[in-house]
Amino acid sequence: MKTRVREYRAGCGITQEKLAETVGVRRETIIFLEKGKYNPSLRLAHHVARALGVGIEEIFSFDDE
């Protein structure tokens, strides 16, 4: 899974801690999300996208292979 969470978060000027608090997860979860090492549920992906003010498909994308 490719992710652009870090890019959009930096664009919004919010910290990992703040984003974690907004979407109701731990900071470590945001770190894993940004590194693409954790596949979030649709619910969490939706919350993150909403917190960053973009659509889900803009921040999360999957490789076909």
């Binding site: 910290t15 801690e17 109701g24 997860v25 731990r26 470590e28 770190i31 590194k35 954790y38 969490l44």
Partner: protein, 214 residues
């Protein structure tokens, strides 16, 4: 732990159990209970002391807990079965040998628990090289445990079927494997601790940056 009530119930139960163990003069069990509970609840206790609130139980943490409980159950069942198998043979009549094997299994169990509790916090701060090292150390320890089990079974099987003793298997099971496991476990724990120290530093730097921003 989802709520403060759960934490309070667990803490009170643990306190009662610990006091009962003290009353029964089972000091080792008392110590193991206290250390085990502190290990399991360290995040909650730390968060309550520092932030006055419990840490969030998100979907990733919940998933990890489920996996940890399942895998730990599987591990201890397999370990118990194998230990009983080995204990039933001739290999462990020697008291020193029994101690080495017990220590080996306990170390693997402890390292397994430790890695599950702390891997999430350590992993983001470890570079590719450190992660490769961690992988090598863990594989080394795992292979050594597998060789230990195979050697123990072979020692007993050859002794029982052919009636001859093969000291090479005994040597592997009692000297080579425990030493290799010790190296693997020690290396893994050192790498994990390195990641944890990095995590603490990052948190401090980030909180300083946040304070500066505000």
């Amino acid at each position: 732990m989802k709520t403060k009530r759960t934490l309070v119930i667990l803490a009170v139960t643990a306190l009662v159990a610990a006091l009962l163990m003290l009353w029964l003069r089972a000091y080792y069990v008392f110590l193991a209970t206290v250390v085990g509970l502190l290990l399991l609840g360290h995040r909650e206790v730390w968060s309550l002391i520092r932030y006055r609130r419990l840490p969030v139980m998100d979907e990733r943490v919940r998933g990890n807990h489920v996996k940890a409980v399942r895998n730990a159950g599987v591990f201890f069942v397999i370990a118990a079965v194998l230990l009983m198998l080995v204990l039933s043979g001739d290999l462990l009549r020697n008291v020193l040998a029994a101690r080495i094997v017990a220590l080996l299994f306990l170390s693997v169990g402890a390292a397994y628990l430790f890695s599950y509790l702390y891997y999430d916090a350590a992993e983001p701060n470890l570079g590719q090289k450190a992660l490769r090292c961690l992988k090598v150390f863990m594989i080394t320890a795992g292979i050594a445990v597998a060789v230990f089990i195979a050697s123990s079974i072979l020692q007993n099987a050859i002794g029982g079927v052919l009636g001859i003793e093969r000291r090479v298997f005994l040597f592997f099971a009692m000297v080579i494997c425990p030493a290799t496991v010790a190296v693997g476990l020690l290396g893994s724990v050192v790498v994990l601790c390195k990641g944890l120290i990095g995590n603490l530093r990052n948190k401090d730097e980030e909180s300083e940056a946040n304070e500066n921003e505000s």
